[in-house]
């Protein structure tokens, strides 16, 4: 497939070619699980950070009696979202500077997007700000099960969030430091395994996927680093401490 240089794997189609519109492991099943753990009430507002083409925002509004808004930093993806779902409330913004008033959100959802944001601390502070007291933060993302392998990941010239994957301990500490109380942590490595299969079916091999989505890095180096860090996928729900 032809790739436009300068576009991330989310934008250039190498990921969607494999997974369909939903650019993350787990699909809507995982979203449902996370929302259930958020204990939402009728009319609550949920913020989807890193909403991409807004398929999850649309899904949430259809499936649940709640309101949902989405932000993403990619104009390209948002344009598609606006085109497909013209009535949704979407905005182009960075995670570290949310265009949302304080204390308004019942829940913040960040599915496979925290790792893509380079300043996790600033972003977590923003999440804390926009949530109402007792509001829920629902995260799902890559993480490194073996912290000693993290340096290999950080050394890669990647543009996607894989490079900045945190360890469980690091993540939990940051959340606590930003005033979050951890309610649920689950490991979902089976989702990454499944995603590997999807990528192979779409691109012929993992190496083929990496060459198209991350042309600056050596596919073999990437796979070695992933193994060393024992990359996996987590689901986490936390509550804003009173």
């Amino acid at each position: 497939m032809a790739v436009t240089p300068g576009q991330s794997m989310y934008e250039n189609g190498s990921l969607s070619k494999a997974t369909g519109e939903i650019l993350r492991p787990g699909g809507m099943d995982l979203t449902d699980r996370m929302l259930a753990l958020c204990e939402l009430s009728v009319g609550d507002v949920v913020l989807d950070v890193g909403c991409g083409t807004a398929s999850t925002v649309q899904y949430m509004i259809e499936a649940y009696p709640i309101r949902a808004v989405g932000i993403d930093r990619s104009e390209l993806l948002l344009q598609t979202g606006i085109h497909n779902h013209p009535h949704l409330l979407l905005a182009c913004a960075w995670g570290r500077s949310l265009p949302v008033a304080s204390g308004q959100m019942a829940a913040v959802l960040a599915e496979c997007s925290l790792s893509a944001m380079s300043n996790a601390n600033e972003v977590l502070a923003e999440f804390q700000r926009v949530l109402c007291p007792g509001g829920r933060l629902a995260l799902s993302d890559l993480y490194a099960r073996d912290p000693q392998g993290i340096s290999s990941l950080r050394a890669l010239p990647l543009s996607c969030g894989l490079r900045d994957a945190l360890s469980q301990a690091d993540l939990l500490e940051r959340l606590r430091a930003h005033g979050f109380e951890i309610l649920v942590w689950e490991d979902h490595s089976e989702l990454l395994k499944y995603l590997a299969g999807q990528l192979i079916l779409a691109h012929g091999s993992m190496g083929g996927f990496w060459s198209r989505s991350e042309p600056s890095a050596d596919p073999v180096d990437i796979q070695i680093a992933i193994s060393k860090a024992n990359l996996s996928y987590y689901l986490l729900v936390a509550r804003k401490s009173a």
């Binding site: 073996d146 073999v220 070695i224 193994s227 060393k228």
Partner: protein
Amino acid sequence: MMNQNELRELENRCIQEHSPPCTAACPIHVDVRGMIAAIQQGDFAGGLKILRKSVPFPGIISHICDQPCQVVCKRGEAGAAIAIAPLEKACVNWGGAAGAISALPQKPKRVAIVGGGLSGMTVAYDLARKGYQIAIYEANSHLGGRLWEISQDRLPWSVILQDMGVLDKLGVEVFLDTSVGKVGSNGRCPPLVLLGEHYEAVYLGTGTDVNEFYDFPLDAQGQVPIDPITYMTSQDGIFAGGSFLHARDFGGSIAQLVSQFAPQQNPQALPDGDQQTGVALSQPVWRSALLSVMDGRRAATSIDRYLQKVSLTASRSNEGPYTTRLYTNMQGIPALPQVPAVDPLQGYAEGEAIQEAQRCIQCECMECVKVCEYLKHYRGYPKKYLREIYNNLSIVMGTRHSNKLVNSCSLCGLCGEVCPEDLDMGIVCKESRQVMVGQKRMPPSAHDFALRDMAFSNSDKFALARNQPGAQASLYAFFPGCQLSASSPEYVQALYAYLGLQLPEAQAKGVGLILRCCGAPADWAGRADLFQAAQAEFLAEFEMMGRPKLVLACSSCYQVFKNYFPDVDILSLWEVIDQLGLPAGPQHRAGAARASLAIHDPCSTRYESHIQDSARNILHRLGYELCELPLSREKTECCSYGGLMWLANPELAAQTVQRRIAENPLDYVTYCAMCRDFFVRQGKPTLHLLDLIFGADPQSLAHQPGPGYSLRHENRARLKRKLLKEIWGEDMDASKSYENIRLFIAPQVQKLLDERLILIEDIQQVIEYAERSGKKLLNKKTGRFLAHYKPVAVTYWVEYVPQGEAYEVFNAYSHRMEIGEGGA
């Protein structure tokens, strides 16, 4: 199952990471090997950098070092020891200007050093680099102690000054002409106790004068008590070291050190740079120059720990010289003399240094890697592999994972045999496979095909356990094994007849026949469940037959029975033939030409020298001259059948075979059906011992490829049917319906099927299903049918066309993914 401790113990047996003898013998553990490797490339700056990592004053030391490393240098066994100190000097001379000295950020702690001799200067250097603030109190008007007294031919003053400059760069404060209070001081000098008030720790490098400080209570010998490990005195925070210490009788390590370093005898006894300089050996006091540095280092380590309030005694056993556990094989290393320096006083010119450096063997062990393609393949050595297997990390080789590392070992035991510490990787690999199976992590495709083959052999298609016709029990039972039966069923029949005639008391007590697989594939695959099931089945037959003594044609079967069936008496067929004599009939004697063959011992005979002897005896009796391969008998290599390497890692298996068959230009002879077949497949003419006893035309037999997988099954089945009919007068049960389907397969298609591990019976089942159910596709362009069927775990696709009563097969492929069909 192995626990952590057992695994750590095994890991520790691998000595590859141990220091070479030179580094271990060096009191400050200079990386001599690394430095010399740099010099070999002409990189003197790199060599100097490595030197600086351990040596605080490389200029001084390289000029006056006693070189305890030379005494133990392995090159000494092949010519002469490497001229290590002269090479260090070459690095100092040709390595260019020293770069910036790195130091940690300043710490607020201060250390005082009394006595600016070599040990004191070393303490200053080490601690200043760690960020401590250092002050040296020196009674004389210069640092360096007795260094200045050495002949300038040996140690030019410029070198001393150059090296000492580093203390300046590190910001060490120096108080010259300043004694520190002791007996007879002039009252102006700060007493030792005052030092204790201004500094957090003190080092006394004052030599024997330490006994004259008022501050210390003395022991019965009138000496200040000093701990031999930490160098702390009886006063908290005050440490002492230096050459005087070595005159003391500490017993243990220091005494040993002293005897090593301060021989009082003939100077010529020492091989060292003095032969280079031609200068008379300096006074015995210089033998302790290196020890002074070692002392300083030890004391600095203690002071650093003391100031950080951590244990002073933990993990200190390898400070100071020791004997390394590293083993270096010296075989084949030619004796070469030391390269002389044109100007010994100046030292080596660059070219001379590089030449001398080339003589360095770069000691390492790697004994097992040298003899094993598998260990070589993953570019490491056992300690590394064991660590990674245990931690379940992936191996740094593309996308390989530790699964493949564990599954690729042939379990042959050669590494354990050549390892100086008897470490056998196969033991860990086999256990790991069992763990993987238990955790449901074993990739099905790794061993499935071989396990199905074993299941076939233990099915009623092949399995048979019979007493001699008319007998109620058997004294002996011939157990030919599944692979010989597959490769050469006609020999099995001939052997059974021979044993029936020749074994003592055979006529009276009977020789039975047992056709089965011994279970080795299940054992190798880590499938304890399948192995135990096969074991139970065998034991039931064994009891019913009256517990006969087994005559085993296959050495892998021999190992299985030996290790897992303690109550079963076993004999190797080869020993039996050796003792009872060759069968009657045409044997293929070597003839007048006395043909030569290279003999390959199957790896399962590794420690069964009696079997190896028997095979050789038989061959000699047949008139053959035998050539031993470089790795034979207890050092024999595996043909890749072992451990199922051939299935789990076909590429590595091919490399393994290639290596073995290239070891000798002669044709090979062996006494294992799989070894023979694997060698012939890769182009090496190989005879089986039985070819020479029963075969029709050994010359062509040596080139005859073994049967493909389907034919192996057919051979076994036919063997059982034939023997049952001819010897016991029984007919076998009717074959399954699909077995009657006749196929035409062109040779190149058959080759494809073998490569893809697709059997005739698999194809028959697909076609039978397709024809019965009508579930097949038609290719309108070619007119051929395509159908698929999943007998058990694998789905097979077959492209075929009916040809009268039979079917012609054009192609077949298979996969393990399951298809969810049904519904439009």
